[in-house]
Symmetry: C2
Subunit: 424 residues, 2 copies
């Protein structure tokens, strides 16, 4: 009976990419952390459950951040006048190197967790650093928070500064095995995900070893793809004979298929790469704010959707400055409008309904049955007190969702559940 209750309020979730399922003043039933659906009145079989009454509040699924770097939270908003490769070398790598020191890591990660607990996200795809102790500590802290996450110890054995580079492929793989040994079955809500940083940081030998580990342990994989033009050119040099960046991952066996895979960014993915992503069931983590901040560009999300590619949203902390996936939703709409206006008028802008889908079921599907209130889905839910955001005229639930998307902050999230467990 733990994690079983009914939530009463104005309930809204995605029925499809373009359609909202809307239930004013209804009951969302949670049994053992799993949704038993939304009901106009509480069915007899659930009458014994405690009812948590949030009449007049908006209740939506928790949001999914498919891509963020935990150690980068510390410097969000700084050094934003650089492009990707320069930003990595002057800002990111020096900061990540500090996480060799667990005292520093604890202080920094404590603030991150606090921010994450207060915001609207319930699921996270997380890059840690290459350091074992700090990564383990981060996972303990995430588990403690109640959030549900997949966390990666980063692999990087080349083209990186001395103080943030694994000594060899063997050492990187040995550390990864040790980390997996310590974490694979340790946590309920915090699980490991293989995390080769990106092709420029990983030798061929390392990538081959990661594929072996993947097969052995049947783990998901996350990495970066086609974020920046200089990066794309560099990968073409590093991997001669490949038709595109995604093809380079695919040649190693790291591009979907039987390997559940998140690729972040995909700003410069062309037709061929898009087809490979669709074919392999690769999840794109679309990170619009980061792609603005690092002058990367605007990912062709409409084309991905048309091609049947699976898409979720990411904050890409600290390429993006804001953890909230509500912010990523409005950023995604705004970026798509600029792309439509300035790049290709064939690709229609995204709507609020569409980015809500991406932020819930879109990214949530990477975690299983997540991101909906249909019966059988794991119950991640937000209770949003949007009364301060109501306009001075009658507004329906779809309009209230739009207001929350553009205007809400952590003050409006008054309660949050992940897998039926209260996080806030």
């Amino acid at each position: 009976m733990e994690n079983s209750f009914a939530l009463r309020g104005d309930i809204c979730y995605s029925e499809s990419l373009t359609t909202l399922s809307i239930h004013p003043n209804s009951y969302l039933v949670c049994v053992d952390g799993v949704s038993a659906g939304v009901h106009d009145s509480l069915p007899d079989e659930y009458k014994h459950l405690p009812v948590i009454n949030y009449e007049g509040h908006l209740i939506t699924p928790g949001l999914v951040d498919l891509h963020m770097h935990a150690p980068q939270f510390a410097f969000r908003g700084l050094g934003m006048d650089l492009e990707l490769l320069e930003w990595l070398n002057t800002r990111t790598f020096p900061e990540e190197a500090k996480y060799a020191d667990v005292t520093y890591a604890r202080a920094a990660y404590t603030r991150l967790i606090d921010d994450l607990k207060n915001g609207p996200n319930t699921r996270l795809g997380v890059f840690a650093t290459l350091h074992l102790p700090a990564t383990l500590m981060l996972m303990e802290m995430l588990e403690e928070s109640g959030l549900v996450s997949m966390v990666g110890k980063v692999n990087m054995d080349r083209n990186s500064p001395d103080n943030l580079c694994e000594a060899s492929a063997q050492q990187s793989l040995a550390d990864t095995r040790r980390w997996l040994g310590e974490t694979a079955d340790r946590f309920a809500n915090t699980t490991p995900i293989l995390t080769p940083r990106f092709i420029p940081s990983c030798s061929d030998e390392l990538l081959r070893g990661i594929v072996e580990l993947q097969k052995e342990c049947n783990l998901p994989v996350q990495s970066h793809l086609s974020e920046n033009q200089s990066e794309v050119d560099w990968v073409a040099e590093l991997c001669p004979g490949t038709s595109c960046y995604g093809d380079a991952y695919r040649n190693f066996g790291l591009f979907g298929g039987e390997v559940p895979t998140i690729m972040a960014h995909c700003v410069w993915s062309g037709e061929k790469e898009t087809a490979l992503m669709a074919e392999g069931g690769v999840f794109v983590a679309h990170c619009p704010q980061s792609n603005m901040n690092l002058s990367s560009g605007i990912a062709p999300v409409r084309r991905f959707l048309n091609a049947g590619v699976r898409v979720g949203l990411g904050s890409d902390m600290a390429g993006g400055c804001h953890n909230s996936i509500f912010r990523a939703m409005s950023d995604a709409v705004q970026a798509s409008k600029l792309r439509w206006r300035l790049v290709d008028s064939a690709d229609k802008p995204l709507t609020v309904e569409e980015v809500f889908y991406l932020a819930t079921i879109g990214g949530g599907s990477f975690f299983g049955k997540v991101g909906s209130f249909e019966p059988g889905y794991e119950l991640d839910a937000l209770v949003i007190d949007d009364r301060p955001l109501l306009p001075p005229f009658e507004a329906g639930i779809a309009e209230r969702l739009a207001r929350v998307t553009y205007l809400s902050d952590d003050r409006h999230i008054v309660r949050k559940f992940a897998r039926g467990r209260q996080v806030k």
Copy 2:
């Protein structure tokens, strides 16, 4: 001695477009609402003044919103899937028509003022509606708030719906005269500004009458320019024989020169129009978020600056959803990066230092000596408690300003002064 004090804290203002003037743990002296400069220690002549101690806080000039529509606050975040002309017809005009009812207007404006008082803006260029009673009430409420604003009763006598259209040019002008009679010398901090909505909404006769009024009363003017391509095409049709939209205003005598003028947007201003703006000293109100939300595009701000055009920032509430000009600052940087990447790599992106200048002195200059702490400037100041935003490493004042720009909200603004008077 009213409005005389010293503020102690970490002080920062723009010395030039690209340079910050930075004063850790210093004293900003305010005498009768005017800055007497920033000092390392309190000079003897000011030792009698009360010292307001905000050690460890960031102190900056108040921010200037050069362009916002007060009645549109009510529906911000809604109907964002439309372009300008359709959005005006289906969302904006029906909402503005409601301001014929002062009860509705009072409820809506009360919330707006509350939001404005809490945020970082101290100066505003405001469009009201065409209604006299509601506009007068708005001005009373703004005066009461302590904010400093120029407010316009809107003129519109054509191409507008029946319930939001003045019956004739004569009636529009007569109403404007009546409004000026009631407001011209009535308030200390709230003054009228002539506000023809934009050329499509104003007959030639009306624009000619406004110019006469301008000469008679020596008032500033605000309007819209080159926001959207369909709008630009429409103006070309309405004003045959003009070389550009700005030239159409100029033909009427409404494009700078002796007339202090704000033109909002200027997304599609070409070389000719840019030269006319520079020549006439026209202020551009750059509204990056609105230009994304309404799919308008990205204004070529770098070109304006290179050409010597005066530029400030605007929220364009409710084309933009957020009043805070800190948000407009980060939006402006992000938009300029996308423009650099996707439109023209000759136009370098804007930096945080540059948008801080635009948000303070840039727009402030329209109000006189406003936007700096140099001696003689009117004292608008923010006290920002940015301690929750400090990174876990040593950060200088410039870095703290960047963090505030990207990450702050109204909770961080703990005190606010306009003309030396406390607003928050």
